[in-house]
Subunit: 204 residues, 2 copies
DNA sequence: GTCTATACTTCGATAGAC
DNA sequence: GTCTATCGAAGTATAGAC
């Protein structure tokens, strides 16, 4: 996966990812995406048709990739408590590779999915579905305590998504000397979360 | 606190809360806020000066209120593990009273605080500061296990904020029969989170 | 304090030549 | 596939009468 794709559509998607993550659907500017991707606007519309279609193409791609990571773990062997640990780690790794992902996820939650079609929503739905499957496995095999799958999904993923998205805001609060929120690298946050979720979810 | 304030500025703030929560700063429309608040646009600008000033006034108000709730608990008597439980409950109650709050919080995290001034950022900073104080108390008195205060803050609040904000998206996923995420009322989610955080944070 | 009308800007999208 | 030029809609904000 090259850092600077030579093909226009790929380069557009890459720039669009940052633009939509940083500014949201309403705040994103097609002009800016085209300029940063070094294509003119007409070219962008030629490839994607509309701002909304570009947004959907991007989200479908990223949600599908994220879903595949989780599904691979859920469908693999091993006890559910181990899978929970691995799934949190996989999400942390996915965010490390795709820094724009958590902000997009956050914004789509806030927007209520209004810009998405059924296909993109289905790709998004794979995430809670996969976690739900692991939780049900764990409760059945008694490696996890009885948990509501939806509650478990939010309890394990919301912290990672909000922490990763919140880096710029933490930077502002820290640099303005309002709170010092600078001393926790992402990898350590993931470890701490894994430990908290292990204590919270494991049957005993 | 009347449901339909008679004074224009109050009514504008109330409508603006829903508009900014539903659509974000960039997506919010001053025209729509004015129309729904039954004032004309010139009146809105007369009272608040600009879209940004209106946004800041709203966020300053809501962050201050939320911060006061938490501070009251943190400064009160009792062991820290109990305060953690109460603070989660207080946040759940605050959201029940101000349904727009979690979406605003989520969007501001994603926007990186770019629309806020120092005063509003300070009001926001009170939240992690207060949780940090409770965590430090608990670690000192050995009612909580050693925890990074920042990690603790995100672990306990991110789930509540994302779950509450995500109601419309869950509704879409459920009604389109992609996942059934409809069977978990907010109060039960808060209880489940309190139990998970108790297990995750308590020293033993 | 309240209104109508409008100035000014920006945005998404397209026409049409090459 | 690629470009320049531009259109029409929509947005924030204000002027100026009452």
């Amino acid at each position: 996966m090259p850092r600077t794709p030579t093909v226009s559509p790929d380069r557009i998607l890459q720039v669009a990812a940052r633009e939509f993550a940083d500014r949201g659907y309403a705040g994103a500017r097609v002009d800016r995406i085209a300029r940063l991707a070094r294509v003119n606007k007409a070219m962008l519309y030629y490839h994607f048709g509309s701002k909304k279609a570009l947004y959907r193409a991007l989200l479908l791609q990223v949600f599908s990739h994220a879903g595949q990571r989780l599904t691979a773990i859920a469908d693999g062997p091993g006890p559910a408590d181990r899978k929970i640990h691995d799934v949190i780690g996989a999400m942390g790794a996915f965010v490390a590779e795709h820094a724009f992902f958590p902000a997009i996820m956050l914004r789509e939650v806030a927007d209520g999915g209004v810009h998405l079609d059924r296909e993109t929503l289905a790709a998004l739905a794979a995430l809670p579905l996969t976690v739900g499957a692991i939780v049900r496995q764990g409760v059945a095999e008694r490696t996890l305590r009885p948990l509501n799958p939806i509650a478990a999904y939010f309890t394990m993923f919301a912290p990672i998504v909000m922490f990763m998205t919140g880096a710029p805001l933490r930077g502002q609060l820290t640099s303005r000397q309002l709170v010092d929120m600078s001393k926790l690298p992402p990898e350590r946050f993931v470890e701490q979360l894994q430990e908290s979720i292990r204590l919270a979810f494991t049957a005993r």
